[in-house]
């Protein structure tokens, strides 16, 4: 009798092991469905999500670099999805996102969904881990319908669409205080030379014109890369910029040296920075979130930072053309290359092909989510390249301006170069070298180090 019971135990163990092994993932393309009827069936905003069936009791884990305060609006914008499908979204934001995502994927603990802000990192993850699942058909259709061809390409690796665009931002903005400008009689500059003349004028009045902060935990240094890219688009033009991003010209090409030196005319000029905080070196230890705040205390006049910086102004700050703060478009340098747009964005990568995950991907790539997110953002600091985004749904003039720029077919748009480069450079050596550059390393050494750090 006893021996039989023993055998039964062994059998149970063996079966349990089989259950734990799980089943292999299938090829994506056709969407998965859970069967049953979705809780929100029949409602117009749920139309696209009905095909995934009843997802009640299931959850989707989202891992992202978007943290407080910007994450609140994100969570609010998922309500429609949760009502439509019955699934819940578990949101987890981290300022160490880029490195931690790799750790988690390697450890077999990948999230269901990750919002990846660097197409370069996306490509690395797709090619090296094979863990990212290709976007299902409904997502691909949405991207074709609502996004421009270039945005589709950023989320595409080796001719397969993996990640649909989520949010976008326009980086070529200079924040300033309209009230202070009116008070002092300063004009918003139309050209780079006007901007330098204005900076000199402000510096002579005893106030440091520029303020900046590049400290960002693990990612310290990234705001400097935006400066370099923005200026390079204006001094060398979009074609040279593309060659530089794809490493068709060396990283320390004369065109790049020229651009970085031009950035240095502002960021490494002790008469210009760092208003309200300290001197040039203090840029390296000032958190990027706090880099522009001295504008509110009239201790600095200008702060170059992307549209999403709007979310960093304290509550009660009026972001408007005649308000406490507003931004002007970074002016052109010379006639030749005009005024290209530097931008960035996040892309929705999935590590699972469960129906609830695919449903969430579909929702995020739709016109419905883009407008829900716009309505859910109380202040400002969010915009998307989704062409179905109603500009009137955006609450802030700065976001409306960004959306107009993004939807303008005439604008020369270029994606943030460091985000397109291999992760070893784009989210590695470029950040650390730019930090060294701020704290005293010269331009040639910095760019030569970056050239040698490019993975062969």
């Amino acid at each position: 009798m006893r021996s039989r019971r023993t055998r039964l135990g062994v059998a149970t163990v063996a079966v349990a092991g089989l259950v734990l092994a799980g089943c292999a993932a299938e090829e994506s393309g056709e969407p998965q469905t859970a069967g049953g009827e979705a809780p929100g069936a029949g409602q117009p905003e749920c139309e696209q999500l009905e095909q995934f069936g009843d997802l009640s009791g299931r959850s989707v884990s989202v891992y992202t670099s978007i943290i407080e305060p910007e994450s609140d609006a994100h969570k609010a914008s998922y309500e429609v999805f949760e009502e439509c499908t019955g699934a819940t979204v578990e949101y987890e934001g981290s300022s160490e996102f880029e490195a931690q995502l790799v750790v988690r994927v390697q450890g077999g603990n990948a999230p269901d969904i990750a919002y990846i802000p660097q197409p370069g990192l996306l490509a690395t993850l797709v090619r090296d881990t094979g863990e990212i699942v290709a976007a299902p058909d409904p997502v691909s259709d949405n991207v074709d319908e609502f996004f421009g061809e270039d945005w589709r390409l950023y989320g595409t690796v080796d001719d397969t669409l993996y990640a649909a665009p989520l949010g976008a931002n326009v980086k070529s903005f200079v924040w300033y205080s309209p009230k202070k400008f009116q008070q002092e009689g300063w004009e918003v500059p139309e050209t780079w030379d006007d901007m330098i003349a204005l900076s000199d004028q402000i510096a002579q009045s005893g106030m440091k014109p520029w303020c900046a902060g590049i400290e960002s935990g693990d990612a310290t240094g990234w705001p400097t890369t935006d400066w370099l890219e923005d200026v390079m688009l204006r001094t060398a033009g979009a074609d040279t910029y593309d060659q530089w991003v794809n490493h068709e010209i060396p990283f320390d090409d004369p065109a790049v040296v020229e651009a970085l030196d031009q950035v240095g005319e502002i960021l490494k000029n002790p008469d210009y920075v760092n208003g309200g905080i300290g001197d040039v070196k203090s840029i390296a230890t000032t958190a990027f979130q706090e880099g522009g705040l001295p504008i509110l205390d009239n201790e600095c006049a200008l702060h170059r930072q992307a549209s999403f910086y709007a979310a960093q102004w304290p509550e009660g700050t009026e972001v408007a053309e005649n308000g406490d703060v507003f931004a002007f478009y970074l002016p052109p340098i010379g006639e030749e290359f005009g005024n290209p747009v530097l931008g960035g964005g996040e892309f929705v990568a999935a590590f699972s092909d469960e129906p609830e995950v695919q449903a969430f991907q579909t929702y995020l790539s739709s016109d419905i989510w883009a407008n829900e997110k716009a309505k859910a953002t109380p202040g400002s600091g969010w915009v998307s390249a989704n062409t179905a985004l109603e500009i009137s749904n955006l609450n802030s003039p700065i976001d409306q301006l960004s959306a107009e720029i993004l939807q303008d077919p005439e604008a020369v748009f270029r994606f943030d170069g460091s985000d397109l480069m291999p992760a070893a450079v784009g989210s590695g050596s470029m950040w650390t070298e730019m930090t060294k550059w701020i704290t005293g390393q010269d331009t040639e050494t910095t760019l030569a180090n970056l050239e040698s750090s490019w993975p062969s």
Partner: protein, 328 residues
């Protein structure tokens, strides 16, 4: 995977564990002979050994293997045989100027931190020994022990905060400097002194541990030895030099080696306070950066192996001293 799926998996795992143990019990319980008892013991040790092999031995061997490859830009797909590089990664560690600086910083950490922390702990333990406010004084220095290294680094990051002299100061230290009329100082930015200011954080946390162990050792010195020394006219500093220190020598070594091991692995302080910027990076931080930021898993593996090689002799020495202490 939904919550219910996870719960079911958890239940299965727990049941599985009990089932395995039950099977082992049932199979081995009828063995009554001497050799049977050996089999019984082996059966109970086996699961632990298997887990250690999977969780510790295999990754360690794989890391050592990986460190002999070139920049494995396909880190997870596996190691490509034609990517075999021999000792190139190790050569790079000892020739690349940036990595040499990392080695230099690690050396400074490993030499200074144990000496400072143990020294402060020892002097403090002797000074407050049998004084009226001993308990309170010990609690004061022991408190930082309860704070995680990340927490401590954040606290000190505020203490070290820099603003130009004419601005309102946030950092306590710079506020004091301003009060005295000196220019404010960039504690975390100025090489090479910033490494010393990071070491202060570690000392602040570890001194309490050193003090506690050494204080207990001092209290364990037999009274008759101290009496005899007193009768021979030894007092003050000579008592400390010739009686106290030799009597607690084994404890001193254990404290020194334990702090050395902690220091060799230091990562959280550097990463939280400076992110390894401004020439403050150390081995463990560099290993993390190379592996998970730059995707150079092979170089990261080589750095990890180097840490392992450096820690091993200290660990062996530490364990031996511990045994000697317990044998007394």
């Amino acid at each position: 995977m939904s919550t219910s799926d996870k719960l079911i998996q958890m239940v299965i795992a727990v049941v599985l564990f009990f089932a395995v143990m039950t099977v082992i019990l049932l199979v081995t319980q009828r063995l009554r002979s001497r050799s049977g008892e050996r089999i019984q013991a082996a059966a109970f040790v086996a699961p632990a050994l298997i887990l250690i092999t999977i969780g510790l031995l295999y990754p360690a061997i794989r890391t050592i293997y990986q460190s002999f490859f070139g920049n494995a830009y396909e880190p997870i797909v596996g190691m490509n045989p034609n990517n075999f590089d021999g000792f190139d990664n190790y050569v790079q560690i000892f020739t690349d100027s940036g990595l040499l600086k990392v080695l230099r910083n690690t050396a400074i950490w490993v030499i200074l931190t144990p000496i400072l922390a143990t020294g402060i702990g020892l002097v403090y333990a002797v000074l407050v020994d049998r004084s009226r406010f001993e308990k309170f004084a010990k609690a004061l220095i022991f408190l930082p022990m309860a704070i995680s290294l990340v927490g401590a680094s954040i606290i000190w990051k505020f203490v070290y905060d820099y603003k130009a002299t004419e601005q309102d100061q946030l950092g306590v230290l710079n506020a004091l400097l301003k009060l005295v009329g000196v220019d404010t100082y960039r504690f975390l930015l100025t090489e090479p002194w910033n490494t010393f200011f990071l070491i202060v954080i570690m000392v602040w946390v570890q001194a309490g541990f050193a003090m506690t162990v050494l204080s207990a050792a001092i209290k364990a010195i037999p009274d008759d030895i101290i009496e005899a020394a007193r009768l021979d006219g030894v007092g003050g500093l000579r008592m400390f030099r010739y009686i106290t220190v030799p009597s607690i020598r084994p404890s001193l070594i254990v404290v020194l080696t334990t702090i050395s091991i902690t220091t060799l692995k230091v990562f959280d302080i550097v990463r939280t306070a400076t992110g390894g910027q401004f020439g403050t990076s150390v081995l463990a931080n560099e290993f993390y950066v190379q592996s998970f930021r730059s995707f150079d898993f092979a170089l990261g593996a080589a750095l990890a192996v180097l840490i392992f090689i450096l820690v091993t002799p200290i660990v062996i020495y530490n364990v031996r001293q511990m045994r000697r202490l317990e044998a007394r």
